[in-house]
């Protein structure tokens, strides 16, 4: 855990220091210390301070918070579905956000009062509401089949995800070239839109999620035994399930709304931590948040610098690097198990 925290700190400093305007780590420390009123022997220029504080710091923090929210969403959904391969996207929050965002980008310009508002906020708001609505629809359908059974949730999620995909396809059919490009870039994900207010919103959703998840770590462990077993141990299972859905939907929904679709963090991060430290949520939750934050910041660093000045979409980076890495891990793990 301390190792992970140090890794996150290291990646954050790297993220703050590397870019079109390179700022040495000593400069990063000096600027941050200067902001706090502490003077250091290192010197820095006004321009460096401006770039760091107005551009890079919110972007790095947004990366950390988004990565943590996605990873925690993965942890909670894997507990809910009792399946280490579950992902927050299963409940429709991502596809709902994507559908609403696409609709906004393609059809939003036809609504005069909507296009008069600043799209920096209306687009994320639409995406967030889309994610929320679709998740609600999924859980409602699942509950129509009786109590909230996770099998039903899964089935409803698959169907609604497919439906959202089809709607996005239809929207792309009627979009013009500029809108098409906009939709495509949004769905590949980017931290480029992050500023301080965005960081504020992400912090308001991700940090409570972290605190609450930590406070119910033992209940999450019990849930992994099965819903009946958890109830026998005094866990209010139905309320817990609804809470997990709500927190995931809100935190992941906010992350997706501001950054677009970023895959693999929610699936890979908890899986990695479990391989190393086991499934106990007491360690899994903070470790996943730290690793998720670090990995996404690292991925963003790569996305910004690998083909500079062109910025790669971060969703592509996480998938391109994450998927092969995950496959290698899976094969190694299964082989080790087979030998054992």
């Amino acid at each position: 855990m301390p190792l992970l925290a140090m890794a996150l700190l290291g990646v954050m400093v790297a993220g703050l220091s590397v870019g079109a305007v390179a700022i040495p780590p000593s400069g990063v420390v000096a600027i941050l210390a200067g902001e706090l009123g502490v003077s250091t022997p290192w010197i820095y220029s006004e321009r460096e301070a401006l770039v760091l504080l107005q551009l890079r710091a919110p972007r790095v923090l947004a990366g950390v918070l988004t990565g943590a929210a996605l990873a925690l969403g993965g942890v909670l959904m894997q507990a809910l579905f009792r399946n280490p391969l579950a992902d927050p996207a299963l409940i429709g929050v991502s596809s709902g956000a994507a559908m609403a965002a696409s609709g906004f980008m393609v059809l939003g310009t036809t609504v005069p009062w909507l296009s008069a508002l600043p799209s920096v906020w209306t687009l994320p708001a639409a995406a967030f509401l889309g994610g929320l609505t679709v998740t609600l629809v999924v859980t409602r359908i699942a509950r129509m089949m009786g109590e909230t059974r996770v099998e039903h949730l899964l089935l409803a999620g698959i169907a609604v995800n497919a439906l959202a995909g089809a709607v996005i396809g239809l929207l792309m059919l009627i979009a013009n070239d500029a809108q098409l490009r906009e939709v495509a870039f949004w769905s590949f994900g980017s931290l480029g839109r992050a500023d301080w207010p965005v960081v504020g919103v992400l912090a308001l959703t991700a940090l409570p999620m972290l605190v609450i998840s930590l406070s119910i770590h033992a209940r999450l462990n019990a849930l992994l035994l099965g819903e009946s077993e958890a109830a026998f141990l005094g866990v209010p299972v139905e309320a817990l399930k609804r809470g997990l859905l709500a927190f995931t939907c809100i935190a992941v929904g906010a992350a997706v709304a501001f950054t677009g679709l970023i895959g693999f963090i929610g699936l890979v991060v908890p899986h990695l931590i479990r391989l190393i430290a086991g499934p106990d949520h007491r360690g899994l939750i903070p470790a996943s948040a730290l690793l998720g934050g670090a990995l996404l910041t690292l991925a963003d660093l790569f996305a910004r610098t690998a083909a500079a000045p062109v910025e790669l979409p971060i969703g592509l980076v996480t998938a391109l690097l994450g998927a092969p890495f995950f496959l290698v891990l899976l094969v190694r793990d299964r082989r080790a198990e087979a030998i054992r």
């Binding site: 009792r82 033992a218 209940r219 462990n221 992994l224 035994l225 077993e229 109830a231 086991g278 499934p279």
Partner: protein, 269 residues
Amino acid sequence: MIRLEHVSVVRSGRRILNSLDLTLADGGVTVVLGANGAGKSSIVRLISGEWRPDEGEVWWGNTRLSRMPRMELARRRAVVSQHHHHGFAFRVLDLVLLGRLPHTGQPEHDHLAIAGAALEHVGLADFADRSINTLSGGERQRVHLARALAQLHEARAEGRGLLVLDEPTAHLDLARQHHFLQLAHDLAHEGLAVVVVLHDLHAAADIADHIALLRGGRLLAYGSAEHVLTPALLSDAYTCRIERVRDDAGRLFFIPHRHPQPALERIQP
């Protein structure tokens, strides 16, 4: 201690339990027997508080089970079901510690001591740091028994704990079945009320202090093995002729008749 009073359970329009009356003894092993669909699992779900009866009432002493606070119930009653395999590689000790979940506000080292003692009780003290996935089926089932013991630690000391075992030996071989049930039997004679659902008549005769024999959602007979496990009652319960043989040591053996083919009775909706 636990009393089912005119209890009926209806699921999907079918009466699974039909106005059943049953008083479970305060101590010892009560075995619940019956053919598939006779209502054994429903009784487990009722007395564990998972289901509420559609008619009638389940009483724990003078308290309605449905009115008992969830946490209080969890401190007094533990359930071990037939299989628990999951994809998550918990450490054995962590699994046993889950039994301490209803007991909040105690120092961590107390929980650890209780969990350790529970593991020792089931003979798995050396397995505390192993991953559950590396254990055999019999060992896993004992780990879950240890979890239940950790859950009932205080209730056991006060002599008012209930341990419910729902076909706990379904996936175990003969020797491990015997070992597990022996553990349950010993616990029942150290102040824990144990209710076991079983299919194996021999195991039932071996460990039961009381037997509840069900048929079609009703209680067919209740009493000692000697009185309940008779050819007439068993043949009725299982709709198949069953012979009873006693060996020189007084042990009972049950032999189903191959001919004629058992007339498998359809359960009336």
